[in-house]
Symmetry: none
Subunit: 412 residues, 2 copies
């Protein structure tokens, strides 16, 4: 089966917004056996939207649109659909109920805009919007489907995950396609490729993609066939071969983040953690607390940006900072043991570094980060060089810190 994506919005045509929505949808379609033939961006113009339906609805099995579903005058996708299908907008009780729910959650009064958001074209099936007022819609005509979603990324993504993927699977029940993503960190793409060696020469039906990001390289294995069981067995074989060669670098699979993995390990071992951050500025605590239920194992964090705060909150001797500098092995170790002891936690971790863009020297360049770890038996710090981009250095340092905790908890 094939599909086309129509991204609607002037903000895309003037280049103010990069079309990451289309990539998200395209990837999910592709992973579920739907080939994307074209991605088209059109403006907030009713004739252009209808012209795009005219061209792509007959050509494809599935046409997917995003954008233009808000309550303001430049949101005209529903009007275009009514014109294209010669139908009209009707109030939908479920949609109205959802608009009420969302407005109540946000403590917002009902206005004429909310009335408008409660209307959908007659004859559509509604895709519920968990996170916003704009309803998604499915239209079926002659075994073809028009799927309409909002352009707000998190609203669209939740519709794709909760509705679209199960819908694709129901359309194409005989094809077997399986994927597995293994998430690595602490190793570059080329070093991974070298270590994997001849695993890269895969058997027919299988493919391996390297997907690099600041948190690490993801390895995505894909296997296609006609029998689910057989495809899964082959996929597992390839996964096992990869784990044999680079297993220690793999922290998780699929959408697992390292903060989830570390959280599970802490829970399972009945341990608690606390963090003392300088150059990461709160990002490690932020990531740990992104995990629902983190309060079970996360007691506290401190962001000790100034030297004074390192002394006052962590009990670091002023002389240690004077002697070695705030960015040093010694201070990183003292921060990790200081937060561990002060918080009565089992584990303390710390970061101190030069995030940049200024403040670097020949001896201590921008991107230098010391990461400290302390438990009841051992305290140590590791040195990293993360490059000259401030925000990327924060992300890489937070990932490396959580990876040290993971490795210690696993004893690897």
């Amino acid at each position: 089966m094939n599909a086309a994506i129509i991204s609607i919005g002037d903000e895309l045509l003037i280049g103010q917004v990069i079309n990451s929505n289309a990539a998200y949808i395209a990837e999910r379609c592709n992973l579920n056996g739907i080939d994307i033939k074209n991605i088209l961006t059109v403006g907030d113009d009713i004739d252009d939207i209808i012209a795009s339906f005219d061209k792509y609805f007959p050509e494809c099995d599935i046409l997917i649109t995003t954008g233009g579903l808000g309550p303001t005058h430049d949101d005209i996708t529903r009007t275009a659909i009514c014109e294209y299908f010669s139908t009209k907008l009707m109030e939908n009780a479920d949609v109205k109920e959802n608009v009420k729910r969302i407005l109540a959650l946000r403590n917002i009064k009902w206005t004429s805009a909310a009335d408008n958001q409660s209307l959908v074209p007659e004859g559509c099936k509604v895709i519920p919007n968990k996170h916003g007022t704009a309803a998604g819609m499915v239209f079926e005509k002659g075994n073809k489907y028009l799927i309409v979603m909002p352009g707000v990324p998190f609203e669209m993504k939740s519709m794709v995950d909760d509705f679209l993927i199960p819908f694709f699977k129901s359309l194409n029940p005989t094809q077997a396609i399986s994927h597995r993503t293994l998430n690595t960190t602490g190793i570059t793409e080329s070093a991974l490729s070298d270590l994997l060696g001849d695993i890269e020469q895969l058997t027919s039906g299988a493919s391996l993609a390297f997907l690099p990001a600041p948190t690490g390289v993801k390895l995505r294995i894909t296997h296609k066939g006609y029998d689910n069981q057989e495809v899964l067995i082959k996929l597992n074989e390839i996964e096992n071969k990869i784990r044999d060669k680079v297993g220690n670098y793999i922290y998780g699979a699929e959408d697992e983040d390292i903060e989830n993995i570390v959280g599970n390990l802490l829970s399972k071992n009945d341990l608690t953690i606390a963090v003392a951050e300088s150059c990461t500025g709160g990002l490690i605590a932020d990531r740990i607390t992104n995990v629902s239920g983190a309060s079970k194992y996360f007691d506290r964090g401190v962001v000790t940006y100034s030297n004074k705060s390192k002394i006052e909150l962590l009990g670091i001797p002023e002389g240690l900072i004077t002697k070695h500098g705030a960015v040093s092995r010694e201070v990183a170790e003292a921060m990790a043991s200081g937060i561990k002891n002060g918080s009565h936690s089992n584990i303390g971790i710390s970061t101190t570094g030069i995030a940049g863009p200024s403040g670097g020297t020949n001896e201590k360049p921008v991107g230098l980060v010391w990461i400290g770890y302390s438990n009841n038996k051992i305290t140590f710090a590791e040195k990293f060089l993360f490059g000259d981009d401030r925000l990327r250095t924060k992300i890489r340092a937070s990932q490396a810190a959580l990876n040290i905790v993971r490795k210690k908890l696993l004893g690897i």
Copy 2:
């Protein structure tokens, strides 16, 4: 004048690469008076590429393609062009010279691939490639232009900046166009629309777009005309009308984030800030420290997730938590004044709430957040309801907290 962009490459259709090239080109076109009517992504398929030329070359003044100019078998843009214009590939001396230069720089031997990279379709004007072997090309036919560029971002960008923008200016020396983006927070898209009222009915040449995100709604004004000075005056008039009606919600313009605005205000007023976070879990400190130079006004932050940490790090009386609960006005205020006093900062801010997904009650539902503020004269807390998504609640709460600081510093 108008244009369309054709992005060529299978990697875009499977969602492995986000199409940031098209946004780059679209923005540069738009800022130089060329309206982008459509952006189309097609795969590495000769029929699809030719079909896209068939559709868009007659429709537009300018057709811009990127991708498919490499030396491998899936790079077929030049072949498609030859077929479309009924012409053939010819060796070009300048292009060959550039290929030699690039290979020498990279210490690579001349191969048949290099011979191939020296060919361009007959009748084209060459756009030099500073950074790679793939030549750019311009074809003119009946006052229409086909512009062909490589898909490697830095090669394409340098062609846009060095060749395309001067070319556009030469085509259209009289048109004037200006944009302004005003970033709001603390108000919904529909409430903004209601407040703006008849401003939405803009005079000829002007348009207004609403761009919503978890941090707030951006308002983008566009004005076109024939005189730069006049267009700017009209743009300023619209901006002033908008500021008259919703000015207090506007925290910045263009790409400014609220953490930059707050950072500037703190610097300018020679003030320091410290944060005590519960439900935002470090995100406010993380955002404050994303700004380079934040150490001038940010001393420290604490992430007091447990009640014990609130008592130990902020000096909150245990009885206050027992009486009102950790998520309460009283505790938010005590956290804000506690961190202000403990850190010797001028301002303290705090968050305490129920990020969810569990832990909510009828009285204190998921999404409830109290945000505290304290300076040397006043301490108060505000109540918010941010909905049921944990990560979004963290983002919205961090934005609202920084917005309270902004408003207090501005006295609004």
